[in-house]
């Protein structure tokens, strides 16, 4: 036993897996398993793999005959996972070697899943999902739907850590003391903004600065120059006679540098002056005035008159008087008071009852309803009791209102772990069911956070209450997908899977990318030299100088190619394509290649596609000579896989390999010879990147991986680091041709895409299924998920890659529908 243990440990790289294996294969069971290994797997291995992985050869440190005792090979799940992936993707056996027949392959794969992985095909292990805390996006959306206000978590909360490429992975979403502090603060400020603390109050309206127009009807109240006389006004209609309070908020907004400007501003109500004040430069002086008005029902005119006190030719910097808003509160007489706008969201009656017992009942009713929505499941009585006591302790104070008490209890709900974490519970398991279904409330949350990144709506919760959600799963999935909230799935999933989010920040030097950085720097130096000599005003006006100037202007414009709006359009292009596939239920292969894309004028111009006008993104049909179609030709991916100054075929190839084909290469060894070194081997020949990489690949250490991804990346070399088409680099024509490690050859990016969408489509289905499943269930995939994924892929292929097949495959899968029992978690710990 001792030896055996040791061998087992040597055989596998991860300890806990071995222990599990020991449990699985003991005694007679082990003999059976070994028998099946010899019968089902060994012949295939011997026939096709042993040439390089046995008999004293251990390519890639894999030798199948080095396990002692032989049975220890069964426990080596990591090894089998590699075998499975390489064989399934056709990477092994390598091109040129004998290949197993389809039947042999299927047998091997089935055996790997059944024996070393121990997958029960009818009842696969659903795995363990650590309770997930809401991430920043989910928190914000949940607060929006629950409280009716927007709380900007991008600013208020620190970024979430990510795992497996996504920011919704339970294990990684930790709760540091800082975050908890933020949650408490957030609860305070959200409740202060959202929950009314009085039954009724004077009504309020606000006129923003931009509502104020001048005589020509131009809206300019929000920016009035100190140097331009102007009168702007706005009319407020009121329905009742009464006392009204006006609150004027404005600002003197100057730049950092001093400006001598002065002006006088007069504010008038119905032509009667209310204040007149002189203002001078300030970087941001806030101004606030309050007035009480006796108004009769009807229209009332508010106006600001600005009179400059310094002539416009003295102006040095921008200096404005800006009206932020004029709030009108009233009538102040109590009979006109009303509920604040959010009142009905939290309170069901016109006013709280007065008797103490009734108040308590009402509080209980309100808090039960609120907590059920906030916790996404019914609240238990003990918790509800505590919430009611909390509220009563506050509203019991004669100074406090009933509403204030409810607000305090709502704060507690928002700080509770039941709100911040997604707690899940199993249903009562059926007979012989090893892994129970999650209960319907858990399912409702799994669905809503997957599709919408937010809490379940009333319909989902109602169905769960009635125990009818599972029965209605298909129509619900359809409904949820059709709901505008499903934009969150597109945005958050695509934003992270294809890194489309990052295009808005990635740093690219467009001049360097276009190869004109040095020319520009030279011209700029020149320009400043002349400028310093004071000659700029009166340089010789010959043609040469004019040309230089024009060129300088041209380059300067090029340096600003990547405007924020262009980057945004790029992100949207990728999101819209994915959304189109989702909404129209098209084939996922459209993501690889399609004869349409989504553009606006700016992005179309950037791509060199004519005939698209206007800012809005719309579907555009593509011609062959546009060279576009599919995410690989989108600016998003082309940019985020480039270096700041040039393209990176390596990064691009790795990106495609990892995110499209699902075969992330091992990371490079430390201190690899760098590209530049290879470049030196080509001294003086101004090589293209392809030639440099060719040299790099000649080294065996590098070639084993580079031959996997270089061809994929080089096929995209026709796109520069800005995502624009080019035929040549450094004056040399670009050669995008290549051969994939799996043997397919191509001559252009179009052909490469064709290979991906035909011969390699199963790899792509696999990859996308794994990613979307990871995103949906909030954990990384494990060996026991292999069969689940295989099944979805099989269905996908049968249905031409329809998105709906993928989605229902995921929603119906064991990891999405089920969970381990609490006592199973210790047993299968991994």
């Amino acid at each position: 036993m001792r030896t055996r243990l040791r061998n087992l440990f040597r055989a596998a790289s991860a300890g806990p897996i071995v222990l599990a294996a020991l449990v699985d294969f003991s005694g007679a069971e082990e003999t059976d398993a070994l028998g099946r290994y010899r019968e089902e797997a060994l012949p295939v291995l011997e026939g096709y793999c042993f040439g390089c992985h046995a008999y004293g050869v251990d390519e890639g440190s894999v030798a199948f005959d080095q396990f002692e005792p032989e049975a220890s090979i069964l426990g080596s799940r990591d090894l089998w996972r590699r075998v499975l992936r390489n064989v399934r993707a056709g990477i092994m056996p390598p091109q040129g070697e004998d290949r197993p027949t389809d039947e042999e392959l299927t047998a091997l794969i089935q055996w790997i899943k059944a024996d070393p992985f121990g997958i029960d095909f009818d009842h696969p292990d659903p795995g363990r999902v650590t309770i997930r805390r809401l991430n920043r996006t989910e928190y914000r959306n949940t607060v929006r739907d629950l409280m009716g206000i927007d709380f900007d978590t991008e600013v208020e909360f620190p970024p979430d850590d990510t795992g497996f490429g996504f920011d919704n992975i339970g294990d990684v979403l930790s709760v540091s003391p800082l975050l908890l502090e933020k949650y408490l603060q957030a609860a305070d400020s959200i409740v202060a903004d959202a929950v009314p603390t009085v039954t009724k109050a004077p009504r309020q309206t606000a006129a923003r600065g931009s509502y104020f127009r001048d005589a020509d009807g131009e809206a300019r109240g929000d920016a009035m120059s100190f140097y331009e006389a102007a009168t702007v006004s706005h009319t407020v209609p009121v329905r009742f006679d009464g006392t009204y309070r006006l609150i004027v908020e404005a600002e003197v907004d100057g730049e950092f540098d001093f400006d001598p400007g002065r002006c006088r501003v007069t504010f008038a109500v119905d032509g009667d002056q209310r204040f007149r004040e002189e203002y001078v430069w300030s970087e941001g002086r806030k101004i606030q005035y309050e007035f009480e008005e006796d108004w009769s029902a009807g229209d009332h005119e508010l106006s600001f008159e600005l009179k400059p006190l310094l002539l416009a030719d003295k102006q040095q910097k921008r200096l404005n008087f800006e009206v932020h808003s004029v709030r009108v509160v009233g009538p102040m007489e109590e009979e006109h008071w009303g509920h604040q706008k959010n009142y009905k969201r939290f309170f069901t009656r016109d006013a709280p009852p007065t008797a103490s017992a009734e108040r308590r009942d009402y509080a209980r009713e309100l808090l039960r309803s609120f907590a059920t929505r906030a916790f996404r499941r019914p609240v238990d009585d003990a918790t509800l009791d505590r919430l009611v006591s909390l509220a009563a302790a506050v509203y019991g104070d004669p100074e406090a209102t009933f509403e204030l008490g409810i607000a305090q209890a709502i704060k507690a709900v928002l700080a509770s772990p039941r709100f911040l974490f997604r707690l899940e519970e199993p249903q009562q398991p059926g007979d012989g069911e090893r892994y129970p279904l999650v209960d319907e409330f858990s399912l409702a949350s799994r669905l809503s956070y997957f599709f919408w990144s937010t809490m379940p709506d009333d319909e989902l919760i109602d169905l769960a209450h009635r125990g009818e959600l599972r029965k209605n799963l298909d129509p619900q999935v359809e409904r949820m997908l059709a709901d505008p909230r499903s934009a969150a799935l597109v945005r958050n999933f695509v934003g992270q899977w294809l890194q489309a989010r990052d295009v808005e920040h990635v740093s690219i030097d467009s001049l360097a990318a276009l190869g004109v950085r040095e020319e520009y720097d030279e011209l700029r130096r020149d320009f400043f030299r002349r400028f310093r000599r004071g000659g700029n005003r009166n340089v010789t006006n010959d043609e040469q100088a004019a040309r230089t100037r024009a060129r300088f202007q041209e380059l300067r414009k090029l340096s600003e190619t990547l405007t924020p709006s262009l980057r945004k359009a790029m992100r949207q292009e990728t999101e819209l394509l994915f959304e189109h596939v989702v909404r129209e239920d098209r084939s996922l292969l459209d993501l690889i290649d399609s004869d349409y894309t989504f553009l606006n004028e700016e992005l179309a111009a950037h791509y060199g596609i004519e005939g698209v006008e206007g800012e809005e993104m719309r579907r555009v049909d593509l011609r062959e000579d546009h060279h576009r179609g599919g995410v690989l030709t989108h600016g998003t991916i082309l940019l985020v896989t480039s270096n700041p100054t040039r393209t990176s075929p390596v990064k691009r190839g790795v990106f495609v390999l990892d995110n499209i084909l699902g075969m992330a290469p091992p990371p490079p060894p430390a201190a690899v010879p760098e590209l530049e070194e290879s470049e030196q081997a080509l001294r003086g020949r101004e090589p293209t990147l392809r030639q440099v990489l060719d040299v790099h690949r000649e080294q065996p250490l590098c070639s084993s991986c580079h031959s996997r991804f270089d061809p994929l990346g080089l096929a995209l070399e026709n796109f520069n680091a800005l995502g624009q088409w080019r035929n040549a680099e450094n004056g040399k024509e670009i050669d995008p041709s290549g051969v994939l490690i799996t043997g397919e050859s191509f001559d252009s990016v179009e052909q490469m895409k064709e290979v991906l969408r035909t011969e390699r489509r199963l790899d792509f289905y696999h990859c996308l299924t794994e990613r979307l499943l990871t995103y949906a269930i909030g954990r990384g995939l494990e060996y026991y998920d292999e069969h689940t994924v295989d099944q979805i892929v099989e269905q996908l292929d049968r249905h031409d890659g329809r998105f709906s097949t993928l989605l229902s495959g995921i929603v119906q899968s064991a990891p999405f529908q089920r969970q381990r029992m609490v006592d199973q978690i210790q047993e299968n710990s991994d």
Binding site: E156, G163, V172, E283, R418, F421, S507, P667, A670, E674
Partner: protein, 457 residues
Amino acid sequence: MSREILRDLRQGTNRRHFLKGIGACIALPALETFLPRSVLAGPVAVATTPQGAPLRMAFVYFPNGAQQDNWFPAGGGKQFVLNKTMQPLEGLKDQIQIIGGLDHINATPGPDGAGDHARANATFLTGVRARKTAGSDIHLGVSIDQVAAEHVGHATRFPSLELSCDAVRKSGGCDSGYSCAYQFNLSWKTPTTPMTPEPNPRLVFERLFGRPAGGGEASIESRRAQRKSILDFILEDSRSLHRELSIKDRQKLDEYLTGVRDIEQRIERAENFENVLRPNIEPPDGIPKNYGEHMNLMFDMLALAFQTDSTRIATLLLAGDGTNRAFPQIEIPEGHHYLTHQRDDDKQAKIAEIDLYYMQHFARFLQKLDATEDVDGNSVLHNSMIVYGCGIADGNRHTHDNLPVILAGAGGGTLETGRYIKAGSQPMTNLYLTMLDRLGVEGVERFGDSTGRLRGV
């Protein structure tokens, strides 16, 4: 003594200096805020200098190693000449120690293969090997600042402060199969809970001194009572929840509970510290676009926290290791990480420029601390121990020995500054133990991969 100090502070020379740095000065801040109360209250054994002033400890991390030709000084001991990257420290030469020969063996590949950047970042303050996982079971160790905070944190309103200048995270995976948690967190409270750093200077300010009170706000006492009633509720709530959860999930809930207890303690402590007044300065806006300004603001917040004795323990991650940030503001359009793997002279010079850029900001911070008078008449810098360093030495080869490390400040006179020390080859964690000693933390014999104390600092 304390009266004089109070008066000195009231004169506010150093504070004015500080305010200028922040940008806008409206009026002098309320004074009591700026007084380290524990000092006035009488001698406290921990985190206190021999003169009775607060003793602070901070760790500042810069990414991707240091260009080797320009980092280490010539000479040794007290006779040394600063190299190019450290030129900004010339005026502070006698207040720092440059330490060579410190290693982080647990950042080397070992059995884990690639991922040197993630490991460098993770190991830097923990001395522990990060478990290689993309996110299913992150595991590291408690970081040295948290060990210190555990022992001396009770002396101040905040046990520790964690700051970062990384506000935008890259999507997708991080370094070579390591969870991003390793690359964006320096400080770890437990082996599985990183102390999330705050990147927004405005929020740091508000955390330290409170948000501006809106009209009609309840009094501090009643707000505190309300906060307490909510804490009581969620504590009880968590307790009942605890019983329903699996072990792994309990771990998450425990993280949450730890946070609740921290806040409870803070509330209790706040009662001892009386009212916290908000320095009467304009709080910084959000995160500036310009990276240099962002660093300056975060350094300003750190200086402010030390100066007001809001905390004595802090960490600042200038950028997660492996960052590929470009530096257009100093005309370097290429990415930092990309550059570190280029060997031609031109590119090497650019790496050195980036190193220098980071150093200029660190130097500005030290100058600020140096110009700020502490309660004992010394400078705040004198009463501090500030490590500036990186978990990678040579960014191209990803080495983790002979790390670039500067120890600034005299530790209240307990450190012999103005030297270039060559430590031979010792774990970085030996230095950390030595620093713990200075803080008066007792009973920590080993930390991470330590083999003893770093002698002669």
